[in-house]
Structure formats: C-alpha cells, structure tokens
Amino acid sequence: MESENNKYQSRRDFLRKAGKIAAVAPLVALPSLLIRKATATGYVWQIDPFKCTQCGQCKTNCVLTPSASKCVHAYAMCGYCDLCGGYLRQGVKNISTGAENQLCPVAAIKRSFVEEPYFEYIIDEDLCDGCAKCVKGCADFGNGSLHMQIKHDICVNCNECAIARTCPSNAVIRVPALEPYLPKDKAGKH
C-alpha cells in the first residue's frame, strides 16, 4: 500500500515537473517570438485629418469629458479670410464677433484683426469640446486649415481608443509615440 502510494506520488511529481517545464516554454517562446516585432517607444492615437469627415463623434466617444480631441489650426493653410466658414454660422450677414454670429458652441475660437483684410483665428483649447463644427465649416467653405487632433497632454492613451473604435471613416490611427501629431500643414497630402 505504502509503496503503491509512493509510486503514485512520484508519478504525480513527475507530471508536476513536466507541467512546469511545459509552462515555462511559452514564457520563453513568446517573448523571443515577439521581441523582434516589439517597438521600444510604442504608439499613441492620432486623427488623420485627411480621413476625418467631421462627424462629431470625437466629442461624444472619448473616455474623457471633455474629449481629448480638439480643433487645432494649421495657420499656414489658413486664408485669414474675413468671412470664415469655421467661425461664422451659415447665413449670417454681419461679419462681427457677436455671439449671434458665432458657430462655435463654446466660443472657443478667438478672432483678431491682423491687417487689412486679414483676420487671425486662434482656438482656445481649454474651451474647445471637440464638436468639430468649425472643422466642418472650414472644410466645406474654406481651405480646411482647421482640423481635429488628439491632444496628448489630455489623452490617457487607452490601449484601444474609444474614438477609434467608433470613427466611421477609420481616421483615428496608431502613430509612433515619438511623432504624436499629424498636423495638416506639415503632413504631405496622401
């Protein structure tokens, strides 16, 4: 009886050892398989402004409130127009900074006079809630210099971006963390 038990026990010990070795194997194999494919610096999420259709889901789908995606301005593309489709509501006749004329629901666009006939538009990102209304206005009626970008001082860099999951045009993509922005005036058109 005793010897039989011992036999079982040793058989079990053997199995246990085998199991351990079998368990170590994937822990060695997996990293060695993946280490060549690993990137040391990782990724962050960013909006490709050329794919963006200004659907407005960035505002509602980010895990943060207000959203980490904000409107940014590619000044070098801007026409500095007086009549700005991103700043003014459609159909207004008076071009002024009056609230009745502004498109932005949080008044985050600051308009200032530069020289005749040019006006500068600056986004106050603390106010911006990422609704993309101005971006749509600028894309439809202007040069498309206003565009959406994810601000990385706000973004918590989720493993899977909630905006990316719902973006209808797949415009939210992983970009290398060392180049975290895709500004419209720097990227080449693709």
Binding site: T60, G98, E100, A107
Partner: protein, 564 residues
Amino acid sequence: MKLKLSDKDISLLKVISQISGIFTLIVALTMIFSLIHLRTINPLDNPALLSVKEQFDKDQANIAKAEQVRAMDLMARKAYFATRSQVETGSYLLLAGAVIFLLCQRLIADNEKIIPSFAEKKHDKAELQKKSRTYLIIAGGLITTAAIVSSFMLRTGLPDISGNRGEASSEGRSRDVKVKEPDKSNWPFFRGQDSRGHAGGSGYPTEWNGAEGKNILWKTEIPRNGQSSPIVWENKIFITGAEGSTCEVYCFDKDNGHLLWTGSATGIEGEPTQEPETDHDTGLAASTAATNGKVVCAVFANGNLVCFDLDGNLKWSRNLGLPANVYGFSQSLIMYEDILIVQFDSDSKVSLLGIEAESGTQKWETLRRGRPVWSSPVLGYFGGRAQVIVNGNPEVTAYDPLTGEEIWTVEALSGDVAPSLAQNSKMVYAVTDYARLAAIKAGTGASIIWEDNYFTPDVSSPVANEEILIVATGTGDVACYNAEKGDTLWTHYFEDQYYASPIIADDMVYILNRSGVMNIVKASDKLEIIGEAPIGEDADCTPAFTDKLFIIRVNKNLYCIGEK
C-alpha cells in the same frame, strides 16, 4: 486587527459610514445625470436660444435681437461650463464619500470577531470531486447550448464568396449582370456599347486627311441632313436624316458605302401636322438610332418612332406625341436586350419609356422628376444590376431597364443639361455647363464623391475609364481628371470647340472638334498628344468605331476612315 475599538467607536463609525454612504449615493446619481447631459448636449442647443436665433436670422439688422442672442448665449455657455466644473468637483466628492464609507465599513468588519465555522461533517472527497465534475459538465453544456443557439438564431446572410451576389433575390434578368468588353465590330448606340464611349478592338488609324484622300476608304452622300451619329451592326451602318417634314432611316454597306435601303419615318398616325420648331443645330434628325442586331429603331423630333428589321422592313411605328422644348428633341435611343428605352423630354412631360423592340408594345413608362434635358440615357451595371441611367435636371437617376423602377437617384446638376453620363465600374460622371462636374458613386445610396466646376462641356459628353475622366469643352479645352479623387491631372487648350463626344479606343482618346479635326491623345494621366487628323469639313457628330474603321458623319457626307 490592530485597532481595538470600543462599542461606542463602532456605533460612531456606523453612523459615519451610513452618512457617507447616503451622500455617495446622492452624488453618484446626480453625477451620472450630469455626465450624460455633458456628453450629449451642446451648450447652444437650448430651444429658447434657438428660437431667438431663428428670429434674429430673419431680421439680421435688429440690434435688440442680437443683444438678446448674446445675453442668452452667454448664459447658456456659463451654465455649460458650470456643469463641467460641477462634474469635476462632483467626482472628487464621490470619491471622498466612497473612501470614507469603505474605510468605516472595513474598520467595523475587521473589528468583528472571527468565528471559524466548520462544515457539519467532513466532506467526502470522492463525492466532492464527482459534484465538481457534474458542475463543470453543466457549465460546458450551458456554454455549448448558448453557442449553438446563437450560431443558428443569429445567423446573418453570409457574404457570397463566389461573387454571385443577389442571385437568390434575382427577380428579373437585369440582376447579376456584368459589364461586357466592348465589341470590336458592333457599335449599336450613340457612343457605342452601353453608350459608354469605349471602342473595342485596336488598330484604329491615327492619321488621315479628307482633302488629300489619305486613309479615306470611301465617302458617300447621305440623302438628307441630320445631326444624328452613325451606328454599326456587323457590316451595316444605320443613320437618320430629315429635311422638311420628311424623316428617313438609311442603311449603308460598311464595305463600300453603298446605300442598301431607305426606310421612311413619315406619315405615321398621330404625327403633328406642323413641323416642330427646333434649333438649327438640332434639327429633326438629332437622335441617334439604336440596334440590337435584330431590329433598328429610330426617333425623330416630331415624335415619330420607327422600327425596322435589318433588311429595311418596317416592323412597327408610332408617334410619341410632340416633344416640344427649347432646343428640340435630341435624345438618342438605347436598348437593353429586347427592350427599347426612349427618353422623352418635352415641356409638358418628362419621362422614360420601355418598349418591346420586337412588337412595339409599351412595357412601362416612368415619369421623371425635374425639367427636360438634352442628354441621352446610358446603360450601367452597378451592384450586379443592369440599370439605365439618365442625366436629368436636377437628378441623375438609374432605372431598372425591364421595369422602369427607380434604383437610385442623386441631385447633381442644373441649367441646360445636354452631355450624357460617363461611367466606369464605380462611378458615373455628370456634367453640364454653368453647373458643375459631379462624380457620383453609383448604386444604392449613391452620393457625390467629388465635384469641380472648371471644365464643363455644354454638349460633348465626357468619357471615363477606371483611372481617368476626359472632358472636352465647348471652348476647346480638354481636361483629364483623376477618376477617383477628382484631381485635375492635365489640361490642354486645343482652341477649337467640341460638340462630338470623346471616345476611348486602344488606350487613346479620339476627340473630334467642330472643324472636323480629330485630336488624338493618350488615355493616360500624363498629357501625350498622339496627333491630329482633319476630315476637311465641319463635324459635330460622334464617330462610330468598328473593326479598325471610323464611320464619321459630316453634315451630308458619310466617311469611312481606315488604314489603306
């Protein structure tokens, strides 16, 4: 644990935890509400503000209203940012409340004496293992059942990998059809097969001269004048002509240009006694005839529609009614299998008719929306479905050629719409002068993908392949666009006006200008002029491409051009 708490402490802790618990609950509920609010609501969507804004929009000079908008706008935004900071502080309050609650509860719980409990009797290990196995099998069974049920209940229509999509639901023969390669010898409609502007075969000449006779195989006179273009079936050429109120269909021998037969299209019951007024450029015989290899049909600006067999015997004829409009009737005919499709645009009625070509029986008539146009229908195949597509005003609309049922529609143009549609496998291109050039993704849910308004022909129809779109304008510009994206790839000013439609053949684009000079360019994203060849007379009609030959109508003359 370490802390020894008296009963008094415990009851105090209990009170604290109860208070913090209730506090947390209340904060949590309000937070959830404001969080939903904050995410979904735009600060300026306040109905009161919107109505005031609407009033202001109507009367923008009203300063008082503007002031009111400003005040309300400020209030709405203040409220919004207040909610935003409330949510922020609220979340900290919530956290603090929850932490206090938990801490108190932990202390209370940890201070309780542990009373180790025993099971009544020692478990029988074998029994326990048996039970565990049963439960495991139950778990496995539950998961399996759920999997099987969901795989059957929630089975959705799988994509058909073989590409025969729509076969199951095919009701008519117009389903599940694909574009055929253009035929190398038959040129059945205006702008060839499907009215697509693509010629089959290769080896078309690039050099000729009408005055010197170079590469002119034969030249023959057409008895009566007309603006209609020639069509070809095997070795027969069909063309129409009209002078005064006499309308005729002619059949020529392709080999030598001899007139084989003349079919009369005059004296049909219902024919208007008075000749309709038409523009000089249009005339009574502006519409190009159509053939399916069994019959040839022709229509004239007085509404006469005739159908002959290929030997010139009249099969049937009828009058459609007088198509009165500004420039005169100009729609060319097209046929899908045995159905003749007639686009009938007059000031009184804008419609599309499907007529059985063999018998002349009308199968369907679909009234179209919008104003009369001078463009001709084309045949397209999108989503595996054959469709006849009309470049209307304002809508580009596709219809089922067998039933006349509308398949899709998109608002695209305005003004006097005369050019017909260009198409490739994904898109159709609608254009007209003073309006725009619109690239439309065809099929259900059609929409405009890109548009442009720099190069817009007034008469000449554009032509496209998968890569490029070519337009030839009434001012002498030829422009090449990226078919998918709409970038202008190249443009060239050829100086003379274009009325005839460009045709793509053998990787080249043949564009006949109004002076009768054929401009030949490479069908590519780079401008490469292959050459130009004059006929020597003014020309407005689109040539027919057949077996390395061109058949070109120049006023009253018919030319056959080919390498000698």
